[in-house]
Amino acid sequence: MNSLILLMLLPMLGALLIGVLPKANETLTKQIALATTVIVAIVTIAIAVGFQRDNVDLQYVQSYSWIPSFGINFAVGIDGLALVLILMSTVLAPIVVLGGWNESHGGRWSVKTFYVLILVLETMMIGVFAATDVFLFYVIFEAMLIPVYFLIGGYGTGQRSAAAVKFLIYSLFGGLLMLASIIGLYVMSGAQGGHTFDLAALSHLQMSSTTQNLLFLGFFIAFAIKAPLWPLHTWLPDAADSATPGTSILLLGVLDKVGTFGMIRYCLTLFPEASKTFTPMILVLALISIVYGAFLAIGQRDLKRLIAFTSISHFGFITMGIFVMTSQGQSGATLYMFNHGFSTAALFLVGGWMISRRGSSTIADFGGLQRVTPIMAWSFFLAGMSSLALPGMSSFVSEFLVLVGTFTRYPVHAVIATFGIVLAALYILIPVQKALHGPTTEGNENLSDLNLREKIAIAPVIAIIIALGFYPSPLLKVINPASAHVIAQMGFTDPAPTNGDK
């Protein structure tokens, strides 16, 4: 069997197994979920080992005819970009399960349902990155909303129903626009050699520039909502505020990447000319996201909302890297997607533990944790250092690549974006000071430090962040050929040094 298909089936098998279990045995349910996600992660690593790094063609390709009358195939295949995102998703999954061991309790539905949703979502996360048929991609893109909707609305806190609906409506709106564009593509493919949803075939369509611009916008707005890009971001803080920490990690760490992934895979591939047309506008939106997200993060009183706004700033960096059309920007953006997954996971994991212990997510309710719960405080601090892209952390490599790749073509943009690193210092150090430093305030004296399970969950995240900060080569070697391929297809070459040999 094709490895990708196997990879997608494994979580479904786990979900089935949990489905037939008696409801009462919650621990066994969790253990099966954990075992399944660990196996999926191991299989993904095996796939990554077998991946030919220098080959820019899709690998592990497989296609089954699905709805022949419309030319729809269940077609999958991965390049370097898809591989690193699948790797990130499947490595994060067991960490989410282990780190959020108890977050399924007290939900609207059973523990069993929670893990079925998580595992179904994992299958979709793999599929959305692996799909090479545009219709398949669309179906998964929309279907992913359903488990997330239930995870937020059923297991979240606070205004969880309202947040879930807001998330859903936003996403649906974007999905509709994308669907229209997909149908437009399909209609045109019929006029140019046969109806198809095959991504590679569709990328050769001839289109007038107006058509291309309109279809581009259909995709781009859907992805800009997902990513999310300013001013389409307001669903994210609400969703992150209400979701359980584990759901937030999957939402911000993985699902939002579908937006930036889609910009590369669909916007750039299908509509190269329209992409160039809209680049100036998109870069401005990305810049606004970087600075605006950072300012909003500084101004938050709630820890979960703060983390959500840092992500809006980070997604600005990723979007900027994608559209500056330099190899450093493109590779940096892809690496950024991977690194942001772990950075955000660390913040939400530790933030979630702090919140569940304290019973509040208001930053001002914490105080002096460093002397009460040193390991938890250190974990939060390191996660924060990763978020502000301290050199030695993986996020520094990707952020600097995006900045340097931007500077060679758009120096003014790069200069403005760089101010984000000062703002980042503020949005991390302010909560660090309020929550961890100072005298231990009332209500924090008796908090317990991380237990063994939590230590096991956070340790690999921090280890990956630091290891890739010093040695990102293994990932860059996978990412670089894919990025170079995109840049070349778009007809760009890196700007030469302006003061080169004279």
């Binding site: 609906v165 409506i169 649906l172 999905g175 509709l176 626009l177 669907l179 229209a180 149908i183 437009g184 045109m188 107006t210 058509t211 309109l214 001013p231 307001t234 605006y292 300012f295 909003l296 500084i298 101004g299 330099t326 450093q328 590779s331 460093q370 250092m385 301290l390 050199p391 490599v397 600097f400 690549l401 900045l403 340097v404 500077f407 060679t408 120096p411 200069v415 760089t418 101010f419 690193i421 000062v422 210092a425 150090l429 000071q433 430093h437 100072g438 005298p439 010093f470 040695y471 990102p472 080569s473 860059l476 670089n480 890196d494 030469a496 040094p497 003061n499 080169g500 040999d501 004279k502």
Partner: protein, 629 residues
Amino acid sequence: MTTSTSLVYLIALPLFGATVLLLAGRRADKWGHILGTAMSASAFAVGVYQLTQMLGRTNESRPVTQKLFEWISVGSFNVDAGLMLDQLSICFVLLITGVGTLIHIYSISYMSHDHDRRRFFAYLNLFIAAMLLLVLGNSYLNLYVGWEGVGLASYLLIGFWNQKPAYATASKKAFVMNRIGDMGLSFAIMIAFATLGTVSFDGVKAASEHASTAALTAIGIMLLVAATGKSAQFPLQAWLGDAMAGPTPVSALIHAATMVTAGVYLITRSNFIFDAAPTAQLLVVIVGAITLLFGALIGTAKDDIKKALAASTMSQIGYMILGAGLGPVGYAFAIMHLLTHGFFKAGMFLGAGSVMHGMNDEVNMRKYGALRKYMPITFATFGLGYLAILGVPPFAGFYSKDKIIETAFNAGGNKGIILGIVTLLGAGITAFYMTRVMILTFTGKSRWDDEVHPHESPLLMWLPMAILAVGSVTSGFLLSNGDALVNWLAPLFAEHGEHAERLQPMVVSLLALAVVAVGIAIAFFKYSRQEVLAIAPENVSVFTKIARQDLMQDKFNEAVFMRPGQLLTSALVKTDEAVIDGAVRGVGQMALGSGSVLRGIQTGFVRSYAALILVGAALLIAAIWMVTQ
């Protein structure tokens, strides 16, 4: 170039110490300080070994390199994790590990009553490792890792007692202001890559020979911005005074002898850029000149012994920056002053720590007095540092500071006259405030409370002070005898013709001594002849008031950056909720008719979902169809 396989140990040893001490936690409490000190001392031993190897080679083959692995490689942006040790970096390696080890030893005793002494040694080791990476990295990007690494260590150490809110704020302030400077370093690296296509020192040096002045000026100015942040130079100087919240050994090591001199290293290391960018070089000189006076003036009004010394550090680094801006002739003198300052200022800070140790952690000099009798060793070692910073012959500062004053005068024209006068004036003010420190602390009548019982510090503390005092006495002579340091560093810097000596060295020395004598005399009459009040007088001149408030640096930053920033932040938060999210909600309500539809979706969402998709899709397909026809 010669390759070496042992450079990495310089960094790996202290990094290993830091990692073990942090991961082992309380289990390492019993032996943590021993391991930390041993790692620092081992790095010093590797440094000495490297020096002996280097001495055995000829000038051209002295630099050694070590490539560790490929770090970042995308397109033409290729940066190796690589180290380089040359005549300049070995000076820093020995200063960092040498003074660093002494301060580790001192801290064993100084921090012995602290519950978290192990953690303190972990941070010290982390600092040593990061600082060594800063001076050993073979590219600007490698340097950047060390540059922010020392910033992290500095943050952790300033906030070592961050259970006190003021100390936590001080550490945050230092980190943020340093990041503003770091932004300059980021820009410099980006400009270097965009214009020269490389970020390694060798590559940039080679490319700078045919680069435009505009590009080099831009890089130079951005490197200067970086230097002002890390070295607490105007206008990014305001964090250093607050950084004294850290334990005193930290002030000695990081905020006097080593980290804050990184800006001088950066400019000297980038000599090939500044030599070809006169505008950037002039700005370096101006920053140095302003800061040396700025720091000195603050120093005159401080009653907190550590803050007085911090202001002095700022001022002395101003001298170094000024010297480095007078390259190529000034580079070696800047480094010489950096090394002698490393001895005498670290010695004086440890002396201040020793005084605090004997005075129940009191830092207000108005509560000192007469300590000479109770702490003779501290008095002697501090006094030797005092003579060195004043530039009294034959102490260290005499050789290094006079050379900078001399170079300033020899810059020629109005520039030379202005810089010469500024550096002389600075020397006079230095003499005033340092004499004031000496008088208030060690002489006169005692002004402390009854429960204080001043006593001399134990061996582990006074021994490092004594060793540094020996350096304060001899290092200037040793480094300048036969132009030892100048000749040692010469291969790294551009050749410079003999400058016309506008003033004879002897004349400069006499002028300097005269100005210093005036400074001492004023301090003597003001503080030794009159009774010193234990409580700072309030009816002082407006100038004193301004100087006490650090020349209004914080007021300025708060008014111009902090409050507008806070206003902007809260305005944006409100806008986001009211306007942007409001608009989205409004559009949603309009599109869906009314709020009741929203509730409908909440209850029977699956049906509505399907219906929405169908209706929306149908509309949009129609639109697309019309366009494509």
